[in-house]
Each structure stands twice: as structure tokens, then as C-alpha cells.
């Protein structure tokens, strides 16, 4: 394992970071969703999308080793992964928009709501960062 890791390049590490950050995003999403009265209607769908995105990313890493960082399979997997993460963060954003508008106006003193809001923001931020890292890694030469 250590040898394997030593042989990996920037592309690998960026993908690994993207996966880890996506996992953090799942945790924040779950915390946000778990508060009584603030569950997200499409939580299950979002969760599945992110998990699939992570899976595609891991698969992409495998095929990078076999076929190079820019093979069609790797390109398709990374594109699908980013689209799924985009779907996830967009869904969270849409689900929390009304909460945000309330917190910034008539419900400013709702500390529980603010907690839910911040966790949602962290989840969105995590999924966005993960997408960006995958995108950045796709510009890098990588192994051929």
C-alpha cells in the first residue's frame, strides 16, 4: 500500500482529497438534515448522488492507473462525478433557500435554524470544493 501511494502523482492526490471532502460534505448534510423540523425532502436522493459520485471518482482513479488520466472512460467518469456533485449541492441550495430568506429577515433569532443553515453551507461548500478538485485534476497530465 505504501509503495502504491508513493507512486501516485498529483492527479491521484487531488482525487483522493475530492473524495475525502465529499465524505465530509455527507456528514455535514446529514447533520443539517437530522435536526427536527428541518429535514430535506430529497435527502435520500442527494445522498445517493454523492455516494455514486464518490464511487465514480474511485473507479476513475482505478482506470487512471490502467489507461491514463485522460482516457475516455476516465473523462466520462469524472464528468458524471462532477455533474452528480453539482446536482447534490444545487438540491441542498434550493431546499435551504426559504430557510435562508427567513433567517436573514423575520426569523433572525432562530439559532437552531442558523445551525442548520451553516451545516448546509458547509455541505454545499464541500461538494463544490470536491467538484473543483476533480476539475483541476482533469487539467493535469497525470500518468499515461
Amino acid at each position: 500500500m505504501t509503495n502504491y501511494l508513493k507512486k501516485q502523482n498529483t492527479t491521484f492526490w487531488l482525487s483522493a482529497a475530492a473524495i475525502l471532502i465529499a465524505v465530509v460534505g455527507i456528514v455535514m448534510l446529514t447533520l443539517s438534515n437530522g435536526v427536527k423540523g428541518y429535514s430535506i425532502n430529497s435527502y435520500a436522493l442527494i445522498l445517493v448522488a454523492v455516494i455514486v459520485a464518490i464511487g465514480l471518482n474511485i473507479t476513475g482513479t482505478y482506470f487512471t492507473d490502467k489507461q491514463g488520466a485522460h482516457s475516455p472512460i476516465v473523462a466520462a467518469l469524472s464528468l458524471a462525478s462532477v455533474l452528480l456533485l453539482g446536482f447534490a449541492l444545487g438540491n441542498i441550495l434550493l431546499n435551504r433557500l426559504v430557510l435562508a430568506s427567513a433567517l436573514f429577515t423575520y426569523d433572525a433569532v432562530n439559532t437552531i435554524g442558523w445551525g442548520v443553515f451553516y451545516n448546509s453551507i458547509f455541505a454545499i461548500g464541500a461538494f463544490l470544493t470536491s467538484s473543483i478538485l476533480i476539475s483541476v485534476s482533469s487539467f493535469i497530465k497525470g500518468k499515461n
Partner: protein
Amino acid sequence: MLKKKQLWHGLSLVFSILLCFCLTVSIALSTFSATIDTALGTRSSIVVSEDDGTLYSTFTPEADHLNSDGTGNSYGLIANAIELGRQISAEGSVLLKNDMATGLPLDAGTKITMLGIRSEVPLIGAGFGVSAKGPYIPFDEALSNNETDFQNEANWASTAMKGTYATMEDHKFEGGGFKVNPVMLDIYAELNKTIGHKVNGAITSGEISSDNAAFIPFDPQEPSLADIARVNSKYQDSFADYGDAAIVMVGRPGSEAADYLPGMVADGLEADEPLELTKNERDLIDLATENFETVIVIVNSTSAMEIEELEQNEDVDSILWIGFPGSYGFLGVSDIISGKVSPSAGLPDTYAVKNMSAPAMMNMGDFTFANADEITRVNSSKYLMEVEGIYVGYRYYETRYNDVVMGLGNADSTAGTYASTGNWNYDEEVAYPFGYGLSYTSFTQEIIGTPKRVQTAHEIAYDFEVKVTNTGDYAGKSIVQIYGQAPYIDGGLEKSAIQLLAFDKTQTLEAGESETLTIKVDLQDLASYDSAHVNADGTKGTYVLDAGEYYLSMGNGSHDALNNVLAAQGKTTANSKMDADGDASKVFNYTEETYDDVTFSITKNDVQVENNLNMADWNNYEGASEVINLSRSDWEGTYPITYDNLVAPASMLDDLNGKYYELETEDDTSEMVWDSDVTSHLFFQLSGAEFEDYRWEELLNQMSIEESMYLAAYGGPIFPSVPSIGFVEAYLLENCGNGMTVPLNASQDIAAPWTISDKDPNASWTPQVFASSPTVAASFNPDLFYDLGKFVGEEALFTGLAILWGPGLNTHRHAYNGRNCEYYSEDAILAGNISMEYAMGAATKGLIASPKHYAFNDQETNRKGVAPFMTEQRAREVELRGYQIAMESNKYDDIMGKDVGMMGLMTSFSKIGAVEIPASRGMMTDILKEEWGFHGYAVTDIFDDTDLYSASVYAGITAYDIRGASGFYDKTSLFSDNWFANQTDGIKLSVDMYEGDLKMQQALKESNHNTLWAFSQSNLMNRYNASTRVVPQMTWWRATSIATIVVTGGLMLGSIAMYVLCFKKTKEEEEVTND
């Protein structure tokens, strides 16, 4: 260097991120199109009807708001708004103290220095909630100018109001003719660059957090004398040129979502309470009294400030309370200062020397159940014990005073003493009583003859003829206030020793002129609620009149009226502890020979009264620790204590956890008719129809249950369509009470012939311009209330809105509720009459006023879901009575010869006892509809109790406030809407969920009937005929959004295509190389 394959691979991912972002934004824009349309002045859809000659004829604007060709005349509208705003403040500003020789009024040309940051940045509206919008006329300009430049940003209530306004030449007025010291105004303008006060100021530094973590001490941020000197060390030199009079302005903001809190004042202000004057404010007063012969203090606050020290200060010549005057009210204030108008208002609240002396203050703030962990429903762990009972405001102070004079119930003990040096003393506890106000002239008020008793089976009233004569030198108006005292039996029902029952106001009377007013006093408002009374049918609770002596008295406020009653009872300053001799000639005394539990046991709607709020009384819950309610039989022993850390008993937990309704699944619902094609009525055909019109049932039968559930869910601002009856989806209502909060160029009904176009010089003018509720209330002028409602109805025609969420009708439980600025008074009779007049005036223009918040929004702290506990007597007499007056509108039944009343309502966030108000059948049906005969639109507060859909619809709610929702059945589906996704009963909303529940199907129809009927009485009917439909429109923001999707999508696909091409090329090159 990047190879092309890498580049296109990377770019395809980048553009895919951007595409996701653009799609998300587009969906958000589409979902909240209604809100965005309002904010940007666009229209995503319009309601269109083919003109068959019947449109826009039911409700029309006044002639002077129209041009000769029927188009809208914005200049006329604004001119009349300015005049009305001026009149409201001229009649609603209360002169509390005045030395006619040295104080007000001031002569023309007087040179005035204004002191206080509020002289430069006055409070004209609430910080959050009922603000004043658009260009306003500043105080100094009202005093000195004849025109205001509405295009000057400095005169805008908010820079967010940037837009198109007519020039100053178009809005001339006659100002006060004074000369105002510009040096001080410039200094304060400079200071405010740092302070940041706004004319719609909020209580930003007093906000409450439910976990106490964000309690922030309040600071009115009045600059010190040193601060002033730092800007201009020679500022006092300017006094020489403007030394005739000083006007010192002190103020306190008001706002939604925040309260003043006991003791929460910033350090270093030398004030113990937030409504007490601070050192800097006192220093200003001293500066004024040391440098000016005439000192006038203006109190710019809707929260009762502690100003006894100003009353006692002999060097303060005049005190004028103005509340929040709105955009144009300073013209009226200037009229008073100049003597053009004699002040004629009375305080809508008691001004205590120390606000903490109100017994309600013992239980104000943040209280959490000790066993909150047993409460599973969100926002249900907070409570409030309103054990002061009926003794709120003057009901407390005057009743205790009465008992001191009469030697009852140890009233003169030290319990509840805050300002008295020894035992409780009224004069030391109260600075200014409710209803009190001075004038520049004097009046006599004389009861003509004997008031005529009018009695039917279920009514007792007295018709008073009161002759009012101006015996002074100034022309002026006079308020006739009639109060009542019912006989109190020691140990019996709690009763206020004096209670406002009726009022009216004269026209302007010249010196020597008289006017006779006819005033009806309805004793329904004096009857006491006895929740222990056993009715003939075995139920409990009704209104009673005890046998004994009744006194109906006129007076300049509650205290004067009570002193008159005491005089009629033989009391004087010589033989009792009265603080002033009364005038028995102002009192009408009669005897009720027998105990009467019949007359008011049946309501005007012919319904037997009974207890409906058992859940409100803490002591009714089995296992609850006892709480003691304040009783005048023992002031000392029952004076409220603070009930902290109470344990919610097990018997209460189901209520707190929202278990109000259990869905039936086995009922036989075959009698219910849905999707009927027997009739084909269209909604518009019932325009103006009576509630009982047979066609309503047929119309409702045409609807599907899905349509019914949607209409019972989404109550605005956008309503869902009901295709089966030709009701189209449209934006139909807005918030506020002091005017419509939509600018003229954002009308929701652009087909109206009077719609103001974007090109109009006044296109950006927003009609939310009038004074705050307490200022309106202080005028005590029923005609003015009606005119205000009618004008707001006029505004509704110009902004295309049929329903208004307003005005505010809660009573002021104490001075610390931040939202007191939106509510009229501590007295429900005054508040109820105002709302009635307002609603009736609005209805003449087809606007359905929906007062809020029904009920018991007694503090903003924990307002979402707080459980206020009280006796049913207190609930009915102190708060609900106001709603009852407005809903029954008995005065207008007589005038219009038919049953009329308010047709709208908004519930509060709070509970009543442990039960959410929207889910309380006692509140929403038994009292509201059955007892009071209410028909109409009854909506929740914003996003409130959406987890209680079945319970609320069954209780009597007609819809929810789901602001922002639109595109129903398609974009917004009730059955997957996040707001309704988590029902407390665990049952997901579905179209067939009520198949086996007869009561729910009936409740849905009842809900729809009420909503549709309310609309049928509104200006919505102006635009409806058989051809009415919604036509979608492309807006610039939607077009931009679509364009961004196309571009980013195209770029993503292009990148993918380029990647594929590059890959193929690379492959070919590799194959060639290999070959």
C-alpha cells in the same frame, strides 16, 4: 504545457460545474418568481380577460385619483396621501404637557434649534415589519420649507427605494414657517455617518436569542455633548441666531422580531431600563433648558418611554408625543407646533413612571419548560404565564387606584411598588394615564338629557347625546371618551374599575361653537366573562352583568373618568385618597336590578357562549403546579411572581407535541360530492354573492379534492388556480397596515385602466406611508380610521391587490413588546373599533383587510410557538374583545342594514395555552366563526404550523402563508412540498388521504368556501369574467437565466466534442506512429 485532450477534458468539467450552477439559479428563480417579480418590478404572468364591458366597474378609484380619460393620476393620489398623513399626525400627536405662555404653539418665524440625533434621523416607521417607504418629508423641512425634493436620496427612507419620483415642484406644501438651526442638523448628519441610525430603525441591539446567547444590551446611541463638540466645538454659538426655542427629540425604535428586555441596557448610559432616558438625553434636556427660554420635547416612540422626569422638570415647557409619523406626518406635527391645528389626541397607552411596575413584566421574556426534553415538536418548549389576568395597562393602574381610594384588597400595600416612595401610590406610579391629552383650547362636554337605554333579548346599549362646546380661543377638535364601571363584588369576578366603552370626536369647532355627538355605548363590552358559570344546557362559561350600580362616565382619559365615577360615589380629595376631585355631572349612573346571565350569553350571531379556551388556563391541566392569578381581592397576596422553570405536566404534552387531530379512515364519505358536472358555475359569477348563496355549494362540488387541498394550503401571496371553477393563479395580496407595500409600477393588475406606468414620474412611489398604529389610535377619530382604511383600499386598486395582511390588532400587554409599533393600544375596545372602521373603509374599495395576529402575540421573544397561559376571562376581555368588535362590526350592521364584518384574519405564531392557534378549533371555529359569525379568509402567519395541515384545516384555517410559492400543481406540488413534508401525525399528504375522513372533507369545503367568498367580495372581481386566464410572460431575468444555461451547456457540450475529436486525432496519430 497542456495537451489539447487534457485541456478539453478539464474545460468540460469546469463548464459542467457552471452549468449546474446556472440550472440551480434558474430553478430558484422560477420557484420564487413571485418574490423576484415584486422585488424587480417584473411580471412572470399576467391575468388577462377579454373586455366585455363588465370589467373594472365594481370597485373604482376616487375621481381625483383619475385623469379625465380614466387613467391613473399619481399626483392626485400622492397629494391626498400627503394630506391624510398630515391629518393623522395632526390628530394623533398627543400634547402631554404645555405652558401656553412659554411653550406651544410657536409664532410664525420662530427661530428653532433642534437637538437630539432623532431631529436629524427621526423614526418614521418600524425597522422591520411596518416601515414607511419612499420619499418622506423630514421634520426640519416640514417646519421650515414649502416643498421637499423627492428625488433627493437624503429624503428616502431607504436607498433600496431608489427609483423614479417626481421633482420637488410637484409636491408643495405649506410648512410651519419657522427657521431651523442648520448647524445642529449638519452636526447630527455628520455624527450619523458613524452611528448609522435609520428612519425605519429597528431594535437591533435588543434581540433575543432562544438560548440567551445573543442578548444584546440596548443603546439608543444618542451622541453626548462631547461628541457634538468634537464635530463642531463652537456649536453653541449658533444658539444665538436660533435661540427662540429648542426642540429636543428623544426616541426609541420598534420592530418585528425583537423586544426590549428588562434591565438590558448598555453600560455607561446611566439608565436601568431601555425605555428610560439616558445620561446623554438628559444632558441634551439640560443644555436646552440652560440656553433657551422655550423648550419643547418631542417623544418619537411607539413604546412607552419613561418621561416622568420631563413632566416634573419646570423648565420643560411642552411635551409632544408623536409615535412614528410615517412619511408625511411631520407636516401634521409642524401644524401643531405652529398652532394651525390644536392638538386633539389622547394616549393609546398608560405611561408609567417605571414600566417594570406593570404586573405583566413579572412574566416577560424567555421561559423554557424544565422538561423541554420531553417535548418533541419543534418550537414548543417555551411558555409565558400571563397571571396578571385582566389587569393590563390602565386596567391595572386605575383599578388599583380605585381600590386604594375605596380601601379595598390592600391595594395600597407595597407589592408591585416601583416608583412610590412608600406604599403604592397612583400619582407616583403613573406619569400619564391612558386616553389623556391636552389641547390649546378648552371644551365642555355635557350629557344631554338621560341616555336612552336600548334593550333587546341580547343587547343592552345606551345612546348618549353629548354636547361639546369650545370654550377657549383656539379652534379645535375634542374627543368624547365614555368609560364604564360595573359593580365589583369582593372575591367575585375580577373586574377593571374603569373601562373604555365608546368614543367619538367632533369636527373642528371654532371658539364658542358647539356640536352634539350621538354615541352608542354597548354594554356587551362591559360584561364580564365568568368561566365558572354553569349555563342552562350544562356547559360552562358565559358573559354576565352583576346586579348593582353601573357608572358610565366621560373623561379626559381613564383616570379622569374614574375620578368622575368616584365623585359620583361621593368621594373627594377631602374624604379619601383621591388625587383630584372628579366631576359627577359627567357620569350617568343606573342600576341593574338583577344578575343577568342571559343577555350576553347569546352572541349577535345567535350562538350560546361557552368556554372554548380551557387549554389556555394552566391551572386546568391535571398535575400542573398551581399558578396564582392577580386578584383585586388581595393585591398584595396575589401580585404576580415570576414563574420560571415550570414543568409541563404529562397531561399537557400531547398538546405541546401537536397531537390535535387523528385522521379517520373508515368514515362513510359517500355524501360528499367532488368533481361534479351537474353544474358549471364559474367563480366570477358569484361576485358579491352572499355567503349563504346556494350556488356556493354547487361551485364547491365542481372542484376536485386535489384542487380543494391546494386552495386550503396555499394562501398567498400567490393563490393556486382552481380550473374547475375558473379561478386563476395570481398574486393577490401583500403585507402591512400603514399602506400597501408594493410600488405603483409593480401593480399585480396591469390591465386596470388606472394602472400607473413605468414612465410615470411617480412610478416608484410606494404607498406604505402612513403613521404607525399607536399614532393612528391616539386620534380617537372613527372617521379618520375609516378614511385611512378607505385610502389603503384605494392603494390596493392601484397595486392590484385584493387582500391586505394587516392592520395589527393585538393589545399591548406591556411596553416592552418590540412590535407595539404595529399594534394600536393596550385597550381592546379602542383597537377593535379602529380595525372595524379601517376594514369597513377598505371594503368600499374591495380590499379585504386581514388583521393580525390572532391572537396573543404579546412579545416577540419566542413568538414562534410560545405557549401563553391565561384565564379565559383575560383572553376574551383583554385581547379577543378587540377582534370581536371588528368581526361583528355591529355599528355597520346598523348602517348597512345587513350583517357585515371583517372578512379576513391572520393568526399568530403563538399558541393559546399549549395549543397552536391555527389548530385550535376553539379559537378558529367556536369563537371566531360560531360566536362572532366570521366568514372569510383566515391565514396562518408565514410558514407557520405547516406540519399541522389536517389539524389546522379542521380547526378552521382557510390557508397557509407560503410566501414565494407559485406554479402550483406543476413546479410546486403540495404532495412533495418541503413545507408540508413533515406532518406531526406522520401521515404524508396525498390526494386520497381523506377518503375515509368525513370531517376533513367537510372542513376542506368550509375552508374553500370562506376563501372564495372573501374574494368574491373583493376588488379581484374587477378583472374577472368568463375569459379570465393567466398568460405567462418572459422577464429579462428569466431570459438571462435561460441564456446562461444555453451558453454554459453549449460550452460544456462543445468541450466534450473537442475532447472526442482530440482523442480520435491522438489515436490516429498513435496508429500511424505504430505503423
